[in-house]
């Protein structure tokens, strides 16, 4: 790799990928749009760094985990993200700082606290998953920062490596599989690592380097002076199509223009599914448009009526925003894939992908979300999310359109909403059935002591070829008394409403049963709060120990 002084970089617009690793900026002169980051890391022509392993090449085992930091908001500390390098494309690390397992020990056999803790707790056996665990724990270590005001006063470099709870450790490791240890020593290490002497990354220098890279990219795109703000005109800022067929539009106008001019180019965001099209289906793209640099798509805004989430907002942040307004979504949010996928994938990508088993759709359909699509020619349009899905993996997205925003109504006082998911495994699994239930109640016109259901929206996944609304079942609820009997009828209705499939995740019979039973769970949860109604949020302990608390 060439050691490149980024601030000097004025040539070859958009064609060179630059990133920071191990104290310096590296560059890739001729990026291939189909090469994965893992291939680049391990290749002798790339970084020839083979500590990072391939376990599955589909983002489900975590052996390939590396850590990225993006510049983001310059005024805030770097956000460290553990991601799956096996399905991230190499060109997507442009402008990022990268850490692999080889980058942590400080030389002379001095181990990073993450590594020392794993060593002390006997956290590696065969060792093949270990680099991935090291990196997930490293990201956790870096993100466990001191949130106190005093620490913030010290500027960007807030103390890292603050104590970790077991729950945080499990969440951080949700995308890492180990087949040898049974995890106990790894979880111990996660909690012990912060007790060791702290090790810091040169964050000031990294931010400076990333800032220089960002400016260089902007300059490269415009061939003008170094004032980015002066070059706010989108068309000028965006690099033209480069010879490798890789587009990284930085603003919406450029994105739409490139989308119009290159309809054959594959739109990508987190690549948590598109990556598999390459690694598993053997597909190859001539050109790609990566929407994750498009600034308008990266915003989260709250209006008086809606939460507006940019399509390129990572799932982790998007769900945080959803949880902020509806805390009951928190457990579901943690069960959406594993953390590295949530750190990579975007909400827009999840929706636009159109999978019948995507988890965001049942939730958002039940909440009455709509989406905004935009094209260069016709401008923006909005539609209800459920209307976006036309058939199996077929959506209303036109060839020149991009999904830009997701609009989620804010909660109303009278609403009751829940989201449930059933899968073989609690963590990092795809739903057999997913169901979002949203009803509103009123005491007006109610003849009994129970209120009346005035509206109902039910979103379901896993029950049909597309994410759907259970309209018949909604009808069976609306106008009825909020009672057990009503929900028993709704249960019968929903099990008749769909013709789910038998597949490797579930039988059709179980899917039908579950759609109905989860409606009952909803009823129980609302009306019997003294009972335990679900396991997913329960901190399971032996009963004798529970009684002692």
């Amino acid at each position: 790799m060439t050691n490149q002084d980024a601030s000097n970089h004025h040539t070859s617009p958009g064609a060179v990928i630059r990133f920071w690793r191990g104290g310096r900026v590296h560059q890739i002169p001729t990026p291939n749009p189909n090469q994965t980051l893992l291939e680049y890391l391990r290749s002798p022509e790339g970084l020839n760094a083979r500590g990072t392993k391939e376990g599955c090449a589909e983002g489900d085992c975590g052996a390939c985990t590396v850590v990225l930091a993006e510049l983001g908001d310059e005024t805030k500390p770097l956000k460290f993200r553990a991601i799956n390098s096996c399905i991230r494309f190499t060109h997507q690390i442009d402008g990022c700082a990268l850490w692999t397992v080889e980058d942590l020990s400080t030389g002379q056999g001095l181990l990073h606290p993450v590594q020392q803790a794993l060593l002390n707790s006997h956290g590696s056996q065969c060792g093949f998953c270990t680099p991935g665990f090291v990196m997930s724990l490293f990201a956790l270590y870096q993100n466990q920062n001191d949130q106190s005001l005093q620490a913030q006063d010290q500027g960007n470099l807030r103390a890292r490596g603050e104590p970790v709870s077991r729950e945080q450790a499990v969440a951080a490791l949700s995308g890492n599989l180990c087949r040898c240890t049974g995890y106990r020593p790894i979880l111990d290490a996660a909690q012990a690592m912060t007790l060791l002497p702290k090790v810091e990354q040169p964050e000031g220098a990294i931010k400076a380097a990333l800032l220089a890279l960002a400016k260089a990219t902007a300059i490269a795109g415009t061939n003008s002076d170094d004032d980015i703000k002066a070059n706010a005109n989108a068309k000028e800022l965006a690099p033209a199509i480069d010879q490798q067929g890789i587009f990284h539009p930085s603003d919406l106008a450029t994105l739409l223009q490139q989308r119009r001019d290159h309809p054959q180019a594959q739109l990508i965001a987190g690549a948590t599914d598109v990556g598999l099209w390459v690694t598993k289906q053997g597909r190859r793209f001539e050109s790609v448009i990566d929407v994750t640099r498009t600034k308008e798509l990266g915003h989260i805004m709250v209006s008086a009526s809606h939460l507006e989430i940019g399509a390129a907002v990572r799932l982790e942040e998007a769900y945080q925003a959803l949880v902020n307004v509806r805390p009951q979504v928190a457990v579901f949010a943690r069960r959406f894939a594993g953390l590295p996928v949530r750190q990579s994938g975007t909400l827009g990508g999840n929706l636009a992908n159109g999978s019948p088993i995507g988890d965001s759709m049942p939730l958002l359909i039940s909440l009455g979300a709509s989406i905004r699509l935009a094209s260069a020619q016709r401008g923006p349009r909005e539609m209800a999310l459920e209307d976006f899905y036309l058939g199996y993996r077929r959506t209303a997205l036109a060839l020149d359109e991009v999904l830009t925003h997701i609009l989620v109504p804010l909660p109303k006082v009278e609403e009751l909403s829940r989201i449930y998911k059933v899968s073989k495994r609690f963590e990092d699994d795809i739903s057999a059935v997913c169901i979002g239930i949203h009803i509103t109640l009123s005491r007006q016109n109610s003849t009994t002591s129970n209120p009346t259901i005035t509206s109902a929206r039910i979103g379901v996944g896993g029950m049909a070829a597309i994410p759907s609304r259970a309209r018949k079942t909604e009808d069976s609820l609306i106008g009825k008394t909020f009672s057990h009997e009503t929900f028993v009828k709704a249960k019968e209705s929903i099990s008749r409403e769909f013709e789910p499939l038998d597949d490797m995740r579930s039988s059709a019979k179980y899917r039908r049963q579950m759609a109905g039973n989860l409606l009952l769970r909803f009823w129980h949860e609302i009306t019997q709060p003294h009972q335990i109604n679900s396991l997913e949020s329960l901190d399971a302990k032996p009963i004798v120990w529970m009684a002692q608390e």
Partner: protein, 763 residues
């Protein structure tokens, strides 16, 4: 490190741990490729069963970067692999026998090209009716090996006179190994037609044999090396041989080094897994729950070839008793041939499936009689004569289960939790609790007596450093660490002074597989024998120098001490070298006492038994069938532990793997015989969120009663079966809906399966 203390008996870190956590530990795919290295990808059958008439390679051959396409007609020698039964083709030629069966290879300049081209090879296959499951195979009498029966006493008569009888059937699923490192081999042609293979294998000696056979080379022209595996679990006992043979054939035919690494999906589609079983049983018992007679039909899905199915099914029969005396018993074992992957070794090797059946029966007896299941289990344990002989005629001499179960019952507060669980179930409508304790008794030794031998080579260099070779392989289980601890103690050295490089067929000939949990028992003993030989020579030499008796020479803390002198180990070694004393030695060990007659199925196939028990408490959601484990208490017998941290790691890891087998890990084949769970996106092994915070492991404080290295016991497989407590706890929870009513809960107990069981009780 404190050099004065013994190395064995302490929780030293795994010898590779520091390399693993810094990314320095190399696996086969991490080795730098030699110049000119080519890459192989498999061409796989898309049909479960059919006649292969032609391969159209036109499109694939034309792809830039494709060097050659290899098929059965290119094979240099025997078209069959040198497997035990000799029934498996290297490449399918006229007939394909499962979806994923390898028909040939594409050799290309890079791995992606090879894989893309392999998809473009079109195989013309005229489909034949496949046999896809155990029921179909039983109906068609389709076997990979003939059925086997084991009978003792008068089971029919005893069944007829028993006060209580239950008959039933249950199934237990297979299991994908999901070693994190997929199958891989790197074959490098050497001068004069010789070949060197880097293999991720539990059995380099067998890989050497297979490669030599396939290439028609004498075995001394084939060298196989395994530094480490990224997990094995039995999946790299025979299955690594296929990759090595394919890579070696490609290397021989092209004259280039060839690397072959399976993509994860290919690995699932091609390689064998744990056998799934169907069991039908009839049991007679007395009012206290003591079994009087048992008849069991055990049928397993072996796949399209025999592989290790014979000994796997034998071990299922051997362990159907688990820890229980069966006076009158009949076990009929059927080894079903199906058009699916050829199932193979997997931790426990049939033992878990056999034990699954008897533990299912114990639970059913308890529920039928309304007695605590632990009490039923205790009433059936092996005891004193005549209740101490296994169905295969081995006297259980070392039974510690009665004491071990009592100890765990007490330490886990089983009875209090059982009562509290019952109270909870009375209060809670939807979430029910269950708790169970199940024991494990697992026989240690290869049931084929000949494999119970091992060799080692210990070499002391003139700087005092020691290099050990032995026939075992390192797959994460800590074998090399334990061997180094034993050798270090034999020579009185600190741990760091002893190293192991790689398992290498050119150093140790005819080594057995690292399997049957016997890796340490065999290889650490062989290495100890070799090290003691060197020690004796050094002792003799020191005794000569200092005019004392050799047994007065002490080796400790890196010092060699006589009554008159104390020398650094290295000083005496250098003096011994100058005096032309041999500073290396071989060592050999064979397990004593064992014998077994395959025809009568009688003998002592096992040197000793390893024991353990687990107490597991679970919660189930009766609306969804979802479940969570809320506590695990394990008491396990490793004898005197050579390395407690490593042994606890094996116990915890084995338990969690067994838990996955019984709960989330479901293999699903579609109607045409294609495995549809072929990647971690669809095949779910446990994650860190699946284990409870309360996960306690204690070691049984007693040395192996047989003379075994350091007084230890084998630990690789036995803890896997502790997880049977999980499914028994789930059944206990389900039963709370309608106590004493019978139901069927098969494994894996997915939410769907648990809900199905619940619905049986609600019907």
């Amino acid at each position: 490190m404190d050099g004065a203390r013994m190395m064995a008996g302490h929780s030293l870190a795994h010898e590779s741990a520091a390399a693993q956590i810094t990314g320095q530990a190399q696996y086969v795919d991490d080795l730098s490729e030699l110049k000119g290295t080519l890459f192989a990808a498999p061409i796989c059958s898309q049909q479960a069963h059919g006649l292969l008439s032609a391969l159209d390679i036109t499109e694939a051959s034309a792809m830039p970067g494709v060097i050659r396409i290899i098929q059965a007609s290119d094979l240099p020698a025997d078209p069959l692999l040198a497997t035990f039964v000799h029934d498996e083709p290297i490449f399918a030629s006229t007939r394909v026998q499962h979806v994923g069966q390898v028909i040939g290879l594409v050799i290309a300049q890079d791995v992606n090209t090879a894989r893309l081209a392999a998809r473009r090879v079109k195989a013309q296959i005229d489909p034949l009716a496949p046999i896809l499951n155990i029921e179909q195979a039983l109906a068609a009498k389709s076997w990979v090996l003939p059925p086997v029966s084991m009978v003792r006493g008068e089971p029919d008569l005893a069944l007829a006179t028993a006060p209580h009888r239950i008959s039933g059937q249950t199934t237990v699923g297979g299991q994908e190994h999901f070693y994190l490192e997929g199958q891989v081999a790197y074959a490098i042609p050497q001068e004069q037609g010789r070949i060197f293979v880097h293999s991720s294998s539990q059995h380099p000696g067998e890989v050497q044999h297979w490669v030599a056979h396939a290439l028609n080379l004498p075995m001394h022209w084939v060298t196989v090396e395994t530094r480490r595996m990224g997990g094995g679990f039995g999946g790299k006992e025979t299955q690594a041989g296929h990759l090595a043979v394919w890579a070696a054939i490609a290397a021989q035919l092209t004259g280039h080094p060839v690397k072959m690494r399976l993509d994860r999906d290919e690995d699932f589609m091609i390689t064998g897994k744990r056998h799934n079983f169907l069991a039908k049983y009839e049991v007679g018992f007395d009012p206290q729950g003591q079994i009087q007679a048992l008849k069991v039909m055990l049928a397993s899905q072996c796949g399209f070839s025999a592989d290790l199915s014979g000994p796997v099914n034998d071990r299922a029969m051997f362990h159907l008793d688990n820890g229980y005396f069966l006076a009158h018993v009949r076990i009929d074992s059927f080894r079903c041939k199906t058009h699916t992957q050829s199932n193979t070794a997997f931790r426990g090797f049939g033992g878990p499936q056999g034990m699954f059946v008897i533990e299912t029966i114990m639970g059913e007896i308890a529920r039928k009689l309304g007695i605590d299941a632990l009490l039923v289990r205790r009433r059936n344990l092996y005891g004193s004569a005549p209740r101490n002989s296994t169905p295969y005629g081995m006297v259980v001499e070392d039974n510690i289960l009665p004491q071990l179960l009592s100890s765990l019952e007490h330490s886990s507060q089983y009875q209090e939790r059982k009562r509290a669980s019952t109270a909870w179930n009375a209060e809670q409508t939807h979430i029910k609790r269950g708790i169970a304790i199940t024991p494990v008794k697992f026989g240690i030794s290869f049931t084929a007596t000949q494999f119970n031998q091992a060799g080692a080579l210990v070499q002391v260099y003139t700087d005092g450093s020691v290099l050990v070779h032995h026939g075992g392989t390192e797959m994460g289980q800590g074998l090399h660490t334990k061997v180094c601890q034993i050798v270090a103690d034999a020579l009185g050295l600190p741990f760091a002074q002893v190293a192991i490089s790689a398992s290498d067929t050119s150093k140790i000939a005819n080594a057995s597989a690292t399997a049957a949990s016997a890796g340490t028992d065999l290889n650490a003993r062989a290495a100890q024998v070799a090290a003691l030989e060197i020690r004796n020579r050094l002792a003799d030499f020191a005794a000569q120098l200092d005019r004392c008796k050799p047994d007065e020479v002490k080796f400790a803390s890196g010092l060699i001490t006589t009554p008159v002198n104390s020398r650094e180990f290295v000083s005496l070694v250098q003096a011994a070298y100058a005096a032309r004393i041999q500073l290396w030695s071989d060592g050999f060990y064979k397990t004593p006492k064992i014998h077994y007659d395959k025809t009568t199925m009688q003998g002592r196939p096992f040197y000793y038994f390893a024991y353990g028990a687990a107490c597991v408490e679970v919660l189930i959601d009766t609306l969804s069938g979802e479940h969570k484990i809320c506590g695990i208490d394990i008491l396990h017998d490793v004898g005197t532990s050579i390395n407690p941290a490593i042994d606890i790691g094996q116990i915890e890891g084995g338990f969690v793997q067994g838990m996955g087998w019984l709960t989330t890990e479901e293999l699903v084949w579609d109607g045409k015989g294609k495995l549809s769970t072929h990647a971690p996106s669809t095949y779910k092994i446990p994650t860190s969120g699946d284990i409870p915070q309360h996960f306690r492991v204690d070691l049984w404080p007693e040395a192996n009663r047989e003379d075994n290295v350091f007084g230890s016991k084998a630990v690789g497989e036995p803890p896997f079966m502790l997880a049977l407590a999980v499914i028994e706890a789930l059944r206990d929870a389900v039963s709370s809906i309608h106590p004493q009513m019978a139901f069927v809960l098969n494994a894996p107990a997915t939410p769907s399966e648990v809900l199905n069981a619940i619905e049986q009780l609600r019907a």
